[in-house]
Symmetry: C2
Subunit: 497 residues, 2 copies
C-alpha cells in the first residue's frame, strides 16, 4: 500500500477545511410534505385533462411517431425539430441494434452496447418543451379526429395501474414493426424464445447458462443432460444462422474451457423447412452450409408441427428433445396492425403509396416492417429488413421537413403541397456472419441480379467494420469495439446476472 501513503500525505492538509458547522441532519421532513400538499389542490385542474391537446397557432406542429425501431428512430433523427415537435410512443425507450443482438446472447457483446436510448438519437425529445417520449402502447387510431389513444406500459410493476391518455397529431407516422410468425404452430409462444428484443437475448443467455450449470448436477441422467444442452434454432434466415454461428463459437471457445465437465454434451441444431439463407447467392449458401457443419451446427431440413415444453415434433413424426429453443422464422404484422381500419397491402401490412402515405386518410404515414406498398402502386411489398426501414425513415423525415417548409406542417394543410420524388428502394446487399471469424457479403441487388458476393475472413472484417460505423452513437461504437476487444482477449463473460 505504498501508493496509498503518498495520497494520504498529499491530501492531509485538506482536513483543515472540513466544516465544523452544527449537524444538518435533523432537518424536518416538512419541506417535502408541505410542497406536495400545497401543490395538490392548486394543480388538480391540470390532472382533469388527460391528453395532449391539438396544437394551436404559435405552437409547432406535432409529429407523433408510433414505435422506436429502425424506421421510427431514423425518422426522428432526421426530423427538423425547429419545424416540428416530436412525440414518440413506444413500449421501450431505446432502439435495438438488431443485427448485433445475436452476439449478446452468448456474451460476445453486452446488452447495453446494442441498445441506443431514443433521447440520444433525438435529444429534443427529452429537452424541448413540446416534444416527449411516452413509455406506452397505442390502443386506437382515430384518423377523423387526428388523435391516437395510448396506455402506459408498466410491465411487472403491479403497484402501478396503466394510465390512459390521448394525443392529438398533426402528422402521424406508424412505425410499429412486425412480430415473429408462428404459423399457428401450437406451443411456440409458450416454449420458444424469439430474438427481436434485448429481453429476448437476456432470456436466451440466462437459460443457456442455467442449462449448462444444471446439466452438471450429480445424478442428472445422460439423456436429460443431452436434452438440457441441445440448443435448437428454428429458421434458417440471417438471424437463425448468425445465432447458430455465435452459439457454436461460444461452445468451441468458452464452453470447452469454462464448462469442461459437460462440453461433450452440448449440441446445436438448426432446423429449416427449405434452405438456409435463401436470399443469398448459391455459392454463399453452400459456403455457409459447409462452415456451419464444420463448426458443429447440425443442419436439418424439416417442418415443425408441434412444440412441447421439452421437445418439438416434426411433420415426419421425429421428436427432437431440446433445452433451449430459439424461433426465428420470419415476421408478420401484429394483431394491432391487422386491426387498424386503414388500407392494407398484400400480406396484411398497412398499405402506403409511393410517398409512404396511407391513402384515404389525412396526415398518416407508415414505414418499416408494418407497412407495404399498396397493390395500386404496382410495386412489390419490400422485405422486412433494417435496411428498408432505415431508408424509409430517412426519406420520410426529409419529406416531412420539406412539407413543413412549404407551410403544410399542420393537420389537414398539406393536400396542395408537392411531395417531390417518390420513395425508391435500392438494395445495397446483404451480410450475415456465420461464426469463427467468417461472414457472407452479397452485394447483388436482387436474388436474380448480378454482382459481387464473397465469403470468409475478409467478409467478416467488412461485416464488423460496417456495423461499427452504423451503430448509432459514438458511445455505443466505442462500447462495441471494447466488447469485441475484451471478448477476444479475455473470452466471453459467463456471469448469470
Amino acid at each position: 500500500m505504498a501508493w496509498f501513503g503518498r495520497f494520504v500525505q498529499v491530501s492531509n492538509f485538506k482536513n483543515s477545511v472540513l466544516p465544523t458547522r452544527p449537524n444538518h441532519f435533523l432537518a424536518p421532513l416538512s419541506h417535502f410534505v408541505s410542497t406536495a400538499a400545497a401543490a395538490g389542490p392548486a394543480l388538480a385542474a391540470a390532472a382533469a385533462e388527460p391528453d395532449l391537446a391539438p396544437t394551436r397557432p404559435g405552437e409547432k406542429p406535432r409529429v407523433v411517431v408510433l414505435g422506436s425501431g429502425w424506421a421510427g428512430c431514423r425518422l426522428m433523427k432526421g426530423l427538423d425539430t425547429e419545424a416540428y415537435d416530436v412525440v414518440c410512443v413506444s413500449p421501450r425507450n431505446h432502439m435495438v441494434f438488431t443485427p448485433l443482438l445475436a452476439s449478446t446472447c452468448v456474451g460476445t457483446l453486452e446488452f447495453r452496447s446494442v441498445a441506443e436510448p431514443i433521447g440520444r438519437i433525438q435529444p429534443a425529445i427529452s429537452t424541448a418543451p413540446g416534444s416527449y417520449f411516452f413509455l406506452a402502447k397505442c390502443t386506437r387510431v382515430d384518423p377523423d379526429n387526428h388523435s391516437v389513444y395510448c396506455e402506459t406500459v408498466t410491465d411487472g410493476m403491479d403497484s402501478l395501474e396503466p394510465w390512459k391518455f390521448k394525443i392529438a397529431y398533426d402528422k402521424l407516422v406508424v412505425a410499429l414493426g412486425a412480430e415473429p410468425s408462428t404459423f399457428g404452430i401450437q406451443g411456440v409462444n409458450e416454449n420458444a424464445i424469439f430474438l427481436r428484443e434485448v429481453h429476448h437475448a437476456q432470456e436466451i443467455r440466462r437459460k443457456l447458462l442455467l442449462n449448462l450449470m444444471l446439466s452438471d448436477v450429480p445424478g442428472i441422467s445422460e439423456e436429460e443432460k443431452r436434452r438440457l444442452l441441445h440448443c435448437v434454432v428454428v429458421g434458417g434466415g440471417p438471424t437463425g444462422v448468425e445465432f447458430s454461428g455465435e452459439l457454436s463459437d461460444f461452445i468451441m471457445k468458452d464452453v470447452h474451457q469454462r464448462y469442461a465437465h459437460v462440453k461433450d454434451y452440448i449440441r446445436v441444431t438448426l432446423i429449416e423447412a427449405n434452405e438456409i439463407l435463401s436470399s443469398f447467392d448459391d455459392r454463399l449458401r453452400r459456403y455457409a452450409t459447409k462452415q456451419l457443419t464444420k463448426c458443429g451446427v447440425h443442419l436439418v431440413q424439416g417442418v415443425v408441427k408441434d412444440v412441447k415444453s421439452r421437445k418439438i415434433i416434426l411433420s415426419d413424426g421425429t421428436e427432437v428433445p431440446y433445452g433451449l429453443l430459439v424461433w426465428s422464422t420470419g415476421v408478420g404484422p401484429s394483431p394491432f396492425v391487422r386491426s387498424l381500419q386503414l388500407p392494407k397491402s398484400p400480406g396484411g401490412r398497412i398499405g402506403v403509396d409511393e410517398w409512404l402515405r396511407v391513402p384515404s386518410v389525412q396526415d398518416i404515414f407508415s414505414i418499416g416492417d408494418c407497412s407495404g406498398f399498396l397493390d395500386s402502386t404496382g410495386k412489390p411489398v419490400l422485405p422486412a429488413l433494417a435496411q428498408v426501414a432505415e431508408r424509409q425513415g430517412k426519406y420520410l423525415a426529409e419529406l416531412l421537413n420539406s412539407v413543413a417548409k412549404a407551410g403544410g406542417g399542420r393537420a389537414n394543410s398539406a393536400e396542395e403541397i408537392a411531395l417531390g420524388n417518390p420513395f425508391v428502394y435500392k438494395h445495397l446487399g446483404s451480410m450475415a456472419t456465420i461464426g469463427s471469424f467468417k461472414a457472407l457479403v452479397d452485394l447483388r441487388q436482387s436474388k436474380e441480379g448480378k454482382g459481387l458476393s464473397m465469403a470468409g475472413f475478409t467478409s467478416w472484417f467488412i461485416w464488423r467494420s460496417a456495423y461499427l460505423t452504423r451503430v448509432v452513437s459514438w458511445r455505443n461504437r466505442f462500447y462495441v469495439a471494447i466488447n469485441w476487444f475484451t471478448t477476444f482477449v479475455f473470452g466471453r463473460d459467463i456471469s448469470r446476472i
Copy 2:
C-alpha cells in the same frame, strides 16, 4: 462507401476458393436421435445415484463451500487445488463486487462490471474432474455423516423441477452471508428493494427509469408526479449514503439533461433512525451531511413504522409518499443459518472459535457475515464487512492448505494437527463515496481509536483507485475503468433494458 470498395477488391479472389461440393443441408437428424437413444440405457445406472459420494483413497479430499460472496470466493481463490477438490454450492454463479453495486443502479457502471464469475476466481471449478460449481441452495447439513443436502435453483424456469442431491464433504465451509434486516416492519419485503445483489440493482434501475418516464405522461397529477419521483432510502450506513450520493449525481447530471420535463419533481430523501455513517469520525460525518444536503439529498431523522405500496409511515405519524424505496438498514443471519443445529454466537450467527472452526462438530468451518466468534473466545463478533469476510477467506484457505500438507485433508483426520496462529482481525479503515467526486476515508482502527481521516476529492480519487485494484479480474478492472471513462465523457446510459 469508398472504403467498402477497397475491401471488395482485396477479397475478390477469395471467391475462387468457395466450395462447390453438394449441399450438406439434407443431413438426417438421426445422428442426434440415435446418440441419445443409444446412450440412454447404457448409462442409466449412473442416474440412479443422485449424490457426490465420499472421497476414496487415491482421490483428493473435497472441500465443500456454501456461498459465493467475499468470504467463500476469497477462500476458493486461495485453496490449493493440488491438495483439494473444490465444490461450491450457491444460487448465483458469480461474486458481486458489493462496494460498487450502488453505482450500477444509475448506470455509472454496467452490471457486468461488478460481477465476477466463480470460474474466473477459481478456474479448477470448471475444469478439474472432481471440482464443481452447483447452482443450488443447501437445505440441510448433516455433520454426523459429513454430508450436505442441496436443491437446484431454477428461478423462473417453470419447465424445470428443482433437483435434489447430496454431497459428501471432507471439509465444509459455511459462507452463506447474511440477509437484510427488516426489524419485523410490515411491508418491507413486499415494497422495498434491497441493494445486495445484481438483480436488486437491476430492479432499482428499471423502476427509477420507469418512474421518470411515467411521470411525463399527460394528465398525471402534480401530486402523483412528486410521488413517482420521490426516491426514499432507508438506512444511513455506507450503502444508503453511497446510493443517495450516486442518485443525486445522476439527477444533477443526467436527469436534468435527459428528463428535462420532470427534473424539478425528482427528490431524494435519506431516512435514518440515528446518525448517518455512525462508524465514521465525527468530522467526516459532518462533512458528509453537508455534502449530501448540498447535492439535494434530504436527510431525515426518523423511525419507519409501516411500509405501504405507495407511502411509508414514520413512528411520529408522518406519511411519506414514495415512488422508489431502497432499504439498507443492515443485515442479520438468514432463517437457514438460524435453523442450523450448530453452536451460535451472540446475534444468532454460526459460532466459531479462533481458528474459524465450528466446535462440537468435525471439519466444519464458517466465515463471513454468517459467522461470529463464540462468547467463549472472549472476542467480539466482527462487523458484517467485505473486509472481514475477505480476510477470513484468505486465512482459512491458508489454514486448510497447511492442514492438507500435514496429512489432515480427509474427513475426521485433522484432530491431532496443529492449526498455527488464530485469526486476528485488523481493521484497515473505512471508505465511502458521497457523490460529486467526493468521498470519505477513515483509517482509524476503531471508532474510539486515533488515526487519519479525510474527505473530499483526493479521498474520492483514493476510493476509486483502491477499488480498481481490488476488483477481482483484469477483465473487470478494465471494464470498470472504461465504464467510468464513458460515464465521464458521454454521461450515463438511460436505456431501460
